[in-house]
């Protein structure tokens, strides 16, 4: 059974259709890459699913239940977590409190004290233990991205949307994050990875969907996607495609 289902999901910002009639499903325990050129509507799509904005039309259902237009905090309680492309830590709180907040408000039966102790293993897992008592504002960008990831994991979600968690990281840090993402998928968490680094998409994802100008233009394995003319055109332009086909596929 598919865990998350989108039916004809559409969103318009005034005259601009940011997400255009997207229909697809996401299965449990898989890593799905969501790629597309800048402005393709990737983040808007995640915002629609997690309730940050309401769709103009279409439906979202999660575990067989219609959840279209629910509030973000409600999505969190149902088991959806996300990281923000532009990280949004609680900057004056330390790392422990940031992660503890994610535990305290996503799961019942926690007090601030019990959430703080439950936060420790999650912090250890993402490798932030040396910075545990540092305020989030004092962390480097790479550390803040890890903190976002820690908060998402701490919520014990069923599905996680990772919005460019690797942007701006060096290759060792990217490897660390990729390993962590694979581990999470092995635990049965569905991962939707919004990513510009094709190296990560190719090595981590088992399926890739491609958005362009709000429309879903391709859906398949990373290998298929990388040879799909529509995708190549979207990224590199029609001229490049014509030239390449004219000279034979090399």
């Amino acid at each position: 059974m598919s865990m998350l289902e989108l039916r004809s999901l559409t969103h318009r910002f005034g005259g601009l259709t940011a997400v255009d009639n997207v229909t697809t499903t996401f299965e449990a325990g898989r890593i799905v890459g969501l790629i597309g050129p800048n402005g393709a509507g990737k983040t808007t799509l995640v915002n629609l699913i997690t309730g940050v904005i309401r769709p103009s039309s279409g439906e979202v259902s999660f575990n067989g239940r219609t959840v279209t237009g629910l509030k973000p905090y409600h999505a969190a309680h149902l088991g959806m977590a996300r990281t923000f492309q532009i990280v949004q830590p609680f900057s004056e709180m330390d790392v422990v409190d940031n992660v503890a907040a994610a535990i305290l408000f996503s799961q019942p039966d926690h007090s601030p004290a019990s959430a703080r102790s439950a936060a420790r293993p999650v912090i250890e897992r993402v490798g932030l233990t040396p910075y545990a008592t540092k305020p989030a504002a004092a962390l480097t960008l790479a550390m803040r991205k890890r903190l976002e990831l820690a908060k998402a994991i701490a919520m014990q979600p069923k599905i996680v949307f990772l919005d460019e968690v690797n942007a701006g990281l060096n290759s060792a840090e990217v490897d660390h994050a990729s390993r962590l993402i694979r581990e999470l998928a092995d635990e049965g968490i569905t991962i939707v990875l919004i990513e510009h680094l094709m190296k990560v998409v190719m090595s981590v994802c088992s399926r890739v969907i491609v958005l362009q100008q709000g429309r879903l233009i391709a859906d398949g394995s990373p290998q298929d996607i990388s040879h799909d003319p529509a995708v190549i055109e979207a990224y590199l332009g029609k001229k490049y495609l014509d030239k390449r086909q004219g000279h034979g596929d090399r």
Partner: protein
Amino acid sequence: MNKYIVIAVILVGLGLTPLAGDTYLMRMATLACMYAVMAASWNLIGGLAGYPSFGTAAFFGLGAYTSGILATFGVALPVSVAIAGLVSFVFASMVGFILLRLKGHYFAIATLATVELLREIANSATNLTGGGMGLNIPRHADLDIVAEASVFFFAMWILLVLTALACLYVERSKVGFALGCIKQAEGGAEMIGVNSTFYKTLAFALSGVFVGMAGGVYASWVHYIEPGDVFDILLTVKPVVMALIGGLGSSVGAIVGAIVYIAAEEVIWRNYLDFSSGIIGLTIVGLVLFLPRGFGSLRLRRKVATP
């Protein structure tokens, strides 16, 4: 642990003032308690949640009129004050549910408008409030001056103790945690499961309840209220300044700030009658410019300087 000792010393110290038997001192202490209630209450919404409310005077006036009108029907002080608190709580929840969708300056102006709105209603509802003529509140019993001063002092003091307990509890509870998250990143807070509308509204309602009760005690204390007096904009501004003196986000700081402010205002007013407002104004400007996080931040700064 430190702040609990500080607050206990302050509350006990204030509670001992009637022993001096000086009605002037008791009057100042009553005022200090009243403003401490208001500053600590404002801190819940303005300091912890980061929503700059200018609605304090609305709750104060609403409480004053509720309790005052009940008193003219012969309702006893504790009952009328409790009802004043309840009315403020309900009013703040309703107003908060609507206005807390706004942020920053917009929220500040909208809350300021509620004060004006209630003032106009109090002015127009002549049958109930006496309108611009004001409302006389009967004395409950024949007490001598010292006894009456003590009754109202202890009423305000008990109210301050309740407010302090409530605020300290909120600070360390899940509610305080949620408010901190909302203040620092509201979008991020929603995303981890914080129902921000609920927590903001709760904070606003709690910030109204004790202020409403303080207004209720005030009405009986001064025996006469009028719209311009209990919906005075200074009742909104002073608690904000007091919370700033103590350091934003700390209820102990707000209470200390209120006492410091009331004492400073009195000293300046007595010695420099002509320039008193000017001196207070300059002090506030200096404070905001050089110590925007209040006197509490002095200790913090030193800690940063010596690693």
